[in-house]
Symmetry: C3
Subunit: 200 residues, 3 copies
């Protein structure tokens, strides 16, 4: 089981991203006083939307439909959010949730860059797919919550994923192994995002 | 021609679903006093949207673009709706249309389950694709009619397709041939839906 | 480089369409007083949306993600629009922009018809994909500009692409080489569109 969840850079980043984004999406829905079914739907939508869009763009069947564990990972994130909401008044503004959002953004920028590179797209394609994978979930969650999509209004959200995708491509083009490129992508994305939250 | 339209479980369910959903979508548009072009567009959109989404999810060219007969079947449904509307004041609320909606829902849940199983997705994937195939057309029709998508508000609509998808997977996993699983999926979906209409 | 940009009918039409639609989309955004980033986003969205949708429908990785030159061609169109806007008060209503819109419509109807034919779809599929390729960019640009999508209101816009797609299929079915069918599609689309602008 650990090999399925963390056996290579893609699997590890995907596992982290699914739990983190399901937690964030479900926390937002808790804040909007959705019922439990609605909380689960928003959490799963935020966890899956980016990856499904990524897979459609590289013309393969979405991993969310093929993998037996993805849905379980999403439900773990939803359960975490429900547990937190019993203890916290505003779970979506808690530092843990803000950190989970930055971590999920970085994890999914990295899965997007890996899949796009394996699909043989151009440098622009790597950055575009990384960014779409990273911000797609948050954008859909905002639509479901009937909010304006904040990724269009916050200056350093999608940009963090763009920089991460550029880092992945640069490090890979310089000849580093894929694991090093993945680490660089995740570190740049989460670092820039946390700096933006702290100082912006 | 009969072999093309009814030669195997997928073809038969697909033929039934296309005519039924085109009839339902066109009837709704008649009720909203769309002109003939608008009636045809809504009818065809309701007939095709679920199957096109299903085919995109399993990474194949939509059958609606490959088959020379799908568009004709959709137009048959539109013509039926126009014919009915000459005789009935509210064609979209007539028992025949309500029954056609339940039959189309069941037929498309079944085509979705068959295509998803052939594509080798997970159990969750089979249920998800069956549901999307079944409710996608009605959701798009409501958007085109500028109504709130009723599939989100009516408790036993999407749920019927979920139960049908589960039935398909269960019966297939127990070793029954694909035709039996298809019959179980269609029977469960249409049965639960008609019960919900009758008692809900 | 000239071979990449104009080496066959698809490449030539694609190059012309990308520059023309990026110019039109960016001009509309200039008119709405978007900032430079917004102008580039709307221009690129108008240039790419139709082709990405086309490629998803025929189940292949979008050319915009594979080709290293597509993004540059889009930026050329955006730069042209910005240059024009320095000299003209209403760049989106200038005859040059109206002509570019008709040319882009014709170019993308033709790329859609070529790709759909190569994918082996039905006659209906060829016309549908040609039309979606041609009007998808304008529809998305209008959504981004928060305007009602004019392709739904203007009688002879999508219809021009439909006629072009029919011309492509007819000429090809009569046995003419693909280049002749492409020329017929482009000529019919741009001709009908310019007549509609002149007399409508």
């Amino acid at each position: 089981m650990l090999a399925v969840l963390f056996g290579d850079p893609f699997a590890a980043m995907n596992t982290v991203g699914l739990v983190a984004f399901a937690l964030v999406g479900a926390s937002k829905a808790v804040r909007e006083e959705f019922d439990l079914f609605g909380v689960a739907v928003v959490g799963l939508a935020m966890a899956f939307a980016g990856g499904v869009t990524r897979d459609l763009l590289v013309a393969r069947v979405p991993l969310a439909l093929r993998s037996p564990v993805e849905i379980l990972l999403g439900l773990v994130g939803v359960a975490l959010a429900v547990g937190l909401s019993a203890r916290l008044a505003s779970p979506d503004e808690h530092p843990l949730t803000v950190a989970a959002d930055a971590v999920g953004l970085a994890a999914f920028a990295t899965t997007g860059a890996i899949v796009a590179t394996d699909a043989g797209v151009s440098a622009f394609g790597v950055v575009a797919v990384a960014t779409i994978n990273a911000v797609g979930g948050g954008a859909l969650a905002d639509v479901l919550l009937d909010r304006p999509p904040f990724i269009l209004f916050e200056d350093f959200y999608a940009s963090c994923a763009v920089l991460g995708g550029v880092a992945y491509w640069l490090v890979g083009t310089l000849g580093a192994p894929s694991g090093v490129a993945a680490a660089a992508c995740a570190a740049v994305t989460v670092g820039v995002r946390l700096l933006a939250v702290a100082y912006g």
